[in-house]
């Protein structure tokens, strides 16, 4: 059973457009994460989120990125003005009991 689902599975957008990626936890989770993986490269941490606040963020997570959990359920990642280099697989994660993270199936973002 997956811990989290993500929508959409694939998003195609034009450079400069805003995109919102969604993460829906299956059961109650408190800690949320976003990672990205550019094709052929390693998985990189973007941001962690707990109690409606960002707890950690990486250098990648600049002012173009934002996260929120508006309805206490969906956890979203917004990219305000997409760039070509934002094309990647984006994974949402939730924390397990031993600090492991369980990831959703990912959203493949293609910026044209």
């Amino acid at each position: 059973e997956p811990e989290v689902t993500q929508t959409p599975s694939h998003q195609v957008t034009q450079m400069g457009q805003e995109v919102i990626l969604r993460c829906v936890p299956i059961s109650n989770h408190l800690y949320f994460y976003w990672y990205r993986q550019i094709l052929g490269q390693k998985v990189e941490f973007l941001v962690s989120f707990y109690n409606n606040e960002i707890s950690e963020k990486s250098e990648i997570f600049d002012d173009q990125f934002s996260v929120e959990r508006p309805d206490g359920s969906n956890f979203t990642l917004k990219i305000r003005s997409t760039k070509l280099e934002d094309s990647a697989m984006y994974f949402c994660g939730v924390r397990g009991a031993y600090n492991e993270q369980f990831f959703g199936p990912g959203t493949r973002l293609t910026v044209l």
């Binding site: 490269q41 998985v43 990189e44 941490f45 962690s48 950690e56 492991e100 990831f103 199936p105 990912g106």
Partner: protein
């Protein structure tokens, strides 16, 4: 800075044989968590096994086991009785400061 190094970009193993994937990491922490994740062609990130640094006993999960050498900062993954479904990218990962740091991965091929 914490880093995770996987020195084998690709490996191949005959079906039913045993293979070991290497991983080293760098940290100044004494208590931390280590993981191996599997990424099949679907690109889903699947947790294979975890190890708590304070535990001396090596973790095992069915055909998967680790060799954790804390002093050497080494964390290798052994896959016994390799199966075709084990073909995937394997990422070694380290948990610190509420985020996971991944290595660059080792692509494992299973030869029938």
């Amino acid at each position: 800075a914490q880093t995770v190094t996987q020195s084998q970009p690709e490996m191949s193993v005959q079906e039913a044989e045993t293979v070991t994937l290497s991983c080293t990491y760098d940290t100044s922490e004494s208590d931390y968590y280590l993981f191996w994740y599997k990424q099949p062609p679907s690109r889903q990130m699947i947790l294979v096994i975890r190890q708590e640094a304070y535990k001396q006993q090596n973790a095992t999960e069915n055909r998967f086991s680790v060799n954790f050498q804390k002093a050497a900062k080494s964390f290798s993954l052994k896959i016994s009785d390799s199966q075709l479904g084990d073909a995937a990218m394997y990422f070694c990962a380290y948990y610190v400061d509420d985020k996971i740091i991944f290595g660059k991965g080792t692509r494992l091929h299973i030869l029938p």
